[in-house]
């Protein structure tokens, strides 16, 4: 049976986290960081792009950031829409006894980009513009994520925290996400049909050739 294509929340987080890292120009640093992390860590810790592109809702908490640092936080959540109510079912024959059922549907994923730091607004423009580029959209389409071009302006509102106003810009982008799941179902290979009247009863066995 073919494999399901159903991105988990972790898959979505990692896809967008790595894409934003790439958009911000941290590809090389990300590779260096991964090599250091997976190595013996004898050398000093290199620049870590994952410090600057993070996921919201860290389970056990996480250290914050400084007012001078440009940090992007991501949230990937599913949203309700007309399109997610439809499911297409296709029956695929596997053998005489079982069939594979293919179910296709579309989820609507909202990605929230929350940026802090002196360049938060500038970076919001950069990320947004890059997400519209065909090359970046291609990366997402490989994961069955298709941008919904319903563009809304970023919200730039500073935040007061401990006596200082922190730069803050936020925007959302929505994606349609095609999901495919497979299930194995048994075929009906024979049936016993009983026809009854008040006076008689006839049984017919129907068997698949």
């Amino acid at each position: 049976m073919p494999e399901n294509f159903l991105l988990t929340d972790n898959d979505l987080n990692k896809i967008f986290q790595n894409l934003v890292i790439s958009i911000l120009g941290f590809d090389e640093q990300a590779a260096t960081w991964k090599a250091w992390k997976n190595g013996d860590r004898q050398e000093a810790q290199p620049f870590n792009p994952y410090y600057f592109v993070r996921l919201s809702w860290p389970e056990v908490g996480a250290p914050a950031w400084k007012i001078s640092e440009d940090v992007c936080f991501l949230k990937c959540t599913e949203s309700d829409d007309e399109i997610n109510k439809q499911r297409d079912k296709t029956r695929l024959n596997v053998d005489d006894i079982t069939s594979s059922e293919k179910v296709d549907y579309t989820r609507v994923i909202t990605v929230n980009f929350l940026l802090y730091g002196p360049n938060s607004y500038k970076n919001s423009q950069l990320i947004k513009n890059e997400l519209f580029k065909l090359s970046n959209r291609y990366i997402l389409t490989q994961n069955q994520l298709f941008m919904v071009p319903d563009d809304k302006a970023p919200v730039r509102i500073k935040e007061l925290f401990q006596g200082q106003w922190w730069h803050r810009t936020e925007f959302n982008i929505t994606y349609n996400n095609h999901v495919t799941i497979y299930d194995e179902v048994n075929n009906i290979t024979s049936a016993k049909i009983v026809v009854k009247s008040e006076t008689s009863e006839t049984t017919v066995n129907v068997v698949q050739n």
């Binding site: 972790n10 987080n13 990692k14 986290q17 790595n18 991964k34 992390k37 810790q45 870590n48 994952y50 410090y51 993070r54 996921l55 860290p58 389970e59 056990v60 908490g61 996480a62 250290p63 914050a64 950031w65 400084k66």
Partner: protein, 120 residues
């Protein structure tokens, strides 16, 4: 200056507990931490009641304890060389996370209010 560490470490008040010190880094998928266990022996007192919260799904328990220590305690910190979450404190098989820290180190002690994180 008065050093009150002797009082909080006095066997009349002190109890065994363990400091679980977090140290970690940001990574693909989130913050990854490693935990170092540091045994401590100092005064521990309840801060408030152990509360029962009845939600439709189950009974959830909250509460907090006050820990005194002559060993430096930390809330979440973000230094270039030392990055980690608030200390967790294991006392009588319950786990607490520091949410308030009073640095009385000039007098030889730290006072921490820690919230119960087991949830059940």
């Amino acid at each position: 200056m008065i050093d009150v560490a002797d009082i909080i470490n006095d066997p009349d008040y002190a109890k065994d507990y363990t400091i679980l010190r977090s140290n970690g880094f940001f990574d693909e998928g989130g913050f990854t931490e490693t935990i170092t266990e540091i045994p401590d022996y100092s005064a521990v007192l309840p801060t408030n009641t152990k509360d029962l919260e009845q939600v439709p799904e189950a009974d959830r328990i909250s509460g907090s304890m006050t820990f005194y220590s002559s060993i430096p305690l930390f809330v979440t910190r973000n230094n270039d060389t030392d990055r980690g979450n608030s200390d967790k404190l294991r006392f009588k098989n319950e786990l607490y996370k520091i949410v308030k820290l009073l640095d009385y180190s000039d007098f030889g002690l730290y006072k921490a209010i820690a919230t119960r994180i087991s949830g059940n």
